[in-house]
């Protein structure tokens, strides 16, 4: 989990009602109606909060007739906690602070609605774009060249140059016309 993913998760949870819901569901299983009554909020508001917590796997639902009961998934909570707060993870948050800000600026300059306005000329900026581009490919999946071209073309017409650059930057690997994304540890920094 990178720092932006961590921020996304924290921002999602940084809501008074959502945290109270987590607390109430940690006590025991409850229905939407009961939660609405305890928190003094409307049922649809509670349902929306629960839907978001459910998307990150923190709550589970059990239907009983027309009533839905929710409970906290403790193992998911522990997993999220591990992903966010191991000492190694916390240290990594500080590591690239300046770089992250600068990279966001570069992406903002060269990207418009997911399209690359042009390929940066300087190596450093091009690397930022390439590191962004490689995230369009799933780790662990093999892609035929045609599909690689197709994916790159969604962002810039010069797919041949960018495909070569991804290999050159050691962000992707190629063998017999098949491409795959290299794991982060092997990616060039």
């Amino acid at each position: 989990m990178d720092i932006e993913s961590a921020l996304q998760h924290l921002k999602l949870l940084a809501n008074e009602a959502r945290l109270k819901l987590v607390g109430l569901l940690a006590q025991r299983e409850r229905s939407v109606g009961e939660l609405a009554e305890i928190l003094g909020l409307k049922e649809p508001t509670i349902s929306h909060h629960l839907a978001k917590l459910s998307e990150v796997g923190l709550v589970r639902m059990r239907p009983e007739g027309t009533v839905h009961f929710y409970r906290l998934d403790r193992s998911a909570l522990q997993r999220l906690s591990r992903e966010l707060f191991t000492p190694e993870r916390v240290v990594s948050f500080a590591g690239r602070q300046d770089a992250d800000t600068w990279e966001r600026k570069v992406l903002g300059t060269y990207l418009e609605g997911g399209r690359l306005s042009k390929i940066p000329e300087t190596r450093k900026k091009r690397d930022v774009i390439l590191r962004w581009l490689v995230t369009r490919f799933e780790e662990g999946r093999r892609y035929p060249e045609r599909e690689v071209n197709e994916i790159i073309q969604r962002h810039h017409p010069d797919f041949a140059t960018l495909r070569r650059e991804l290999i050159g930057a050691k962000l992707m690997q190629r063998e017999s016309g098949v491409y795959w994304r290299l794991p982060p540890a092997a990616e060039a920094t």
Binding site: K11, G40, L41, K42, S47, K52, G108, T135
Partner: protein, 219 residues
């Protein structure tokens, strides 16, 4: 979907409210929403988006999520999810929300900061501005086919307010609302609003950000 995806929130949303609760109208709204030219889907699981043909959106006991793709600009499509929530109290209400996770917007070049005190601001981020405009188009078409009572846009818009509780002062302070004529008349607010083709009025965000002040839970 063939591209690597990040479905994690927070969410930028179009949240629409219908009063009173009505099964047939909600089903019609789901049908209209998911047949919008900017949307592809829905699929019942987010991992199956793009795999096989989409299934017609069937109304189920809420909460239920339907997943698909939204074309934000001509060149970019992002994963999106619709949620339904229903209120059984009083006259009841139905709420239909179309949400795009922030994780989907990052590859498009989302530059908005993700800090807790920094609301998503479509006025300062081109990606959010494009998404906001797309939501306005979708809402305009939805309202023309299935008139709703209120729509809110922005970060976590679904939990911000309801047509029954909305006041002119709130609209003037926050904006980010699509007001049907009847509600606009009731509120009698004086904030400038842009008229859309369906007759809806769009009140832009007022405070430099899309995160408004949601109702606070009780003690």
């Amino acid at each position: 979907m063939s591209e690597a995806e990040d479905w994690s929130g927070p969410y930028y949303e179009l949240a629409v409210e219908f009063v009173p609760r009505d099964d047939a109208r909600l089903q019609h709204a789901l049908d209209v929403l998911w047949s919008d030219p900017c949307l592809e889907g829905p699929w019942s699981e987010r991992d199956s988006v793009g795999d096989g043909p989409p299934a017609p959106p069937a109304l189920a006991e809420p909460p239920f999520a339907l997943y698909g793709r939204l074309t934000v600009t001509r060149a970019s499509r992002v994963g999106c999810v619709s949620w339904v929530a229903r209120d059984s109290g009083g006259r009841g209400s139905d709420s239909l929300t179309l949400s795009v996770p922030a994780g989907m917007l990052r590859p498009l070049g989302l530059t908005a900061p993700l800090g807790l005190g920094e609301p998503f601001d479509p006025g300062a981020d081109p990606v959010l501005a494009a998404l906001n405009e797309r939501f306005l188009e979708v809402a305009d078409r939805l309202y023309a086919a299935v008139p709703f009572d209120l729509a809110l846009l922005g970060e976590e818009a679904a939990v911000q307010n309801s047509s029954a509780d909305l006041t002119g002062a709130w609209v003037e302070e926050h904006g980010g609302c699509l007001l049907p004529p009847a509600l606009r008349e009731r509120l009698a607010h004086s904030v400038p609003a842009r008229q859309l083709g369906s007759g809806l009025r769009w009140v832009p965000f007022r405070s430099g950000g899309s995160r408004m002040t949601p109702p606070r839970p009780g003690p």
